[in-house]
């Protein structure tokens, strides 16, 4: 779908504001998982690479696009995995197993 420049800038600006407001509230306790999670979300760039490779418009696009898919997918898989592993470790005090 076509997206004109001004609409794109509006989208970017609003997303940046939302980002600031939401992320400002993230406890410093969780800043490391925050970084690995945003990193995984950022790898949504994989959809661009998928379309690029899928349309197969040129050999160069297919080669570079495939490498791009590999790089982004490893971020998605690894990023979500490690974020969840870290978050699992955060436990409140209270009754704990000895």
């Amino acid at each position: 779908m076509k997206l004109d420049l001004i609409t794109g800038l509006y989208v970017f600006m609003l997303a940046a504001f939302i980002g600031f407001e939401v992320i400002r509230r993230v406890s410093p306790l969780l800043h490391t998982p925050l970084m690995s999670l945003t990193n995984a979300l950022d790898a949504i760039a994989v959809v661009g690479a998928i379309i690029l490779v899928g349309e197969g418009k040129s050999r160069l696009a297919t080669i570079l696009g495939t490498i791009a898919i590999v790089a982004a997918t490893s971020n998605i898989v690894g990023g979500f995995m490690i974020t969840d592993r870290m978050l699992k470790m955060f436990k409140a005090s209270g009754p704990r197993k000895p």
């Binding site: 980002g19 969840d84 870290m86």
Partner: protein, 461 residues
């Protein structure tokens, strides 16, 4: 617009909402895991939607890419918690690589007929992507200690670096005007690749938390630029969220290191690390044995433990947890004071302590804990140095003057576990060690804490 396109757009819309919710739920440890699931669901929806999208004619290379990526991603998701900083730097590099390669393909598919605005964002995308790629690889190498950690500086370094960046931007501007000059494009990638390396060379280990955050922000911005090129709102939003997150963390880190904001944007790096090895008279310090330390700790009612990266290097976090358990069992109130730059990336120390099973509600950030020190009986410092240095508050001539610190010197007794009297990361003397209320506990952090625990649990109950 045909129906299937609407469906894809709706899928992207839902994915966007899930991404925002994902970050929102991360605000508290109670809901944080739900945030990961929301992110995963959004990601899955967007990818499946894209795969079903009509424009795709061949799936072979897509499938190969997805499988290979998963095979690389799984081991990267299983690294040790101490290795999370370098893993994060590596994933910034991968993200930037993806963006740069897609940008390059888009250029060669469209050139020479690229509209000015499109060429502008494309230039931004590949310049940011390329410098983030090599910069993050360098950062990962330094953190993994395959590259020398000490900063390498030379005369005119900033001039060379900014010159390189200016040339790359100049090429971008030329291409905006004359997109038919396709021979310029490889230079617009090559020069930022070199710049990325040069940018990290002058950075020492102590600055790594700031650098990782900054690279995080760049990776996000380059992805947002890619969103403009591909006209994808989802990508613009994801990039903006990532960019904002990296930006906030960079500002946090720069504040915690007492660096100005422009300093962070344009190379706070390479700031000369003053090695104050001046007049070093042998001043007397008081030291204590594990038995004495155990006696003081059990007699206390309020203890604050201040861990630094030295604790993680000595692998002492599990012994620290035993100490926490032993003292808590005796009714001592034990909390942890965490400086924002403790560890190698923002929040790293919390992860290391959580891994050792220390409850997160006992981990307090600097601003929360500082008011407690005057009522604290014992401040126990393990493997931290500069972040406890009172000179940052009092001595205007100190290189770290103005840096926010943990006010451990206000506690009734200060105990410092340290290998010897060597200076810290920044090579600065710490007057804390010479105070009357300070006891130095010389030894390896893991062994020393272990001995204290044995004393406490071996003693009469």
């Amino acid at each position: 617009m045909i129906a299937s396109e609407y469906i894809l757009e709706i899928a992207y819309l839902i994915a966007t909402a899930l991404f925002v919710l994902s970050l929102k739920w991360l605000s508290s440890p109670v809901t944080a895991r739900r945030g990961v699931w929301a992110g995963e669901a959004g990601m899955l929806l967007a990818i499946v939607g894209t795969l079903l999208h009509g424009g795709i004619v061949s799936y072979r290379w897509i499938a190969i890419g997805l499988v290979l990526g998963t095979m690389i991603g799984v081991p990267l998701g299983k690294v040790a918690m101490t290795a999370v900083p370098q893993r994060t730097a590596l994933s910034h590099a991968f993200g930037a690589l993806c963006v740069t390669l897609v940008g390059t393909s888009e250029f060669y598919l469209r050139a020479p007929n690229v509209p000015g605005f499109m060429m502008g964002v494309l230039s931004l995308e590949v310049i940011l992507g390329a410098l983030t790629f090599t910069g993050s690889l360098m950062a990962a190498g330094k953190l993994q200690e395959v590259l020398p950690q000490r900063p390498i500086t030379y005369k005119g370094q900033n001039f060379v670096n900014l010159g390189l960046l200016a040339i790359a931007i100049g090429i971008g501007a030329t291409l905006v005007k004359h997109p038919d000059k396709m021979y310029l494009f490889p230079f617009m990638i090559g020069i930022p690749l070199v710049f990325g390396v040069m940018m990290i060379i002058p950075i020492g280990g102590a600055d790594m938390p700031t650098v990782i955050s900054l690279l995080n922000s760049y990776a996000g911005l380059s992805a947002a630029a890619m969103g403009f090129v591909l006209q994808s709102k989802l990508l613009i939003i994801a990039g903006a969220l990532d960019g904002a997150s990296g930006f906030i963390l960079s500002v946090n880190m720069s504040k915690a290191m007492n660096r100005s904001f422009t300093n962070v944007l344009f190379g706070a790096f390479g700031q000369e690390q003053v090695t104050a090895k001046g007049a070093k008279e042998a001043r007397p310090v008081r030291s204590a044995s594990p038995e004495e330390a155990a006696g003081i700790l059990t007699a206390a009612s309020k203890v604050v433990i201040v861990p630094g990266y030295g604790m993680a290097v000595a692998q002492a976090q599990h012994k620290v947890r035993e100490l926490y358990d032993a003292l808590t069992k005796r009714g001592v109130d034990v909390k942890f004071g965490i400086h924002p730059v403790a560890g190698r990336m923002p929040g790293h120390m919390n992860v290391l302590l959580a891994e050792a099973d220390i409850p997160y509600d006992k981990l307090l950030e600097m601003d929360e804990i500082n008011g407690d020190f005057p009522q604290t009986d014992v401040a126990l410092i393990i493997g931290a140095n500069d972040v406890t240095n009172p000179a940052a508050r009092e001595d205007t001539s100190s290189p770290i003057y103005g840096m926010p610190i943990l006010d451990v010197d206000k506690a009734h007794t200060v105990m410092v576990i340290k290998r010897g009297m060597g200076a810290g990361f920044a090579g600065i003397e710490n007057p804390l060690y010479y105070m009357d209320k300070t006891l130095m506990l010389f030894g390896d952090a893991k062994n020393f804490v272990g001995s204290i625990v044995r004393e406490i649990s071996g003693g009469h109950n």
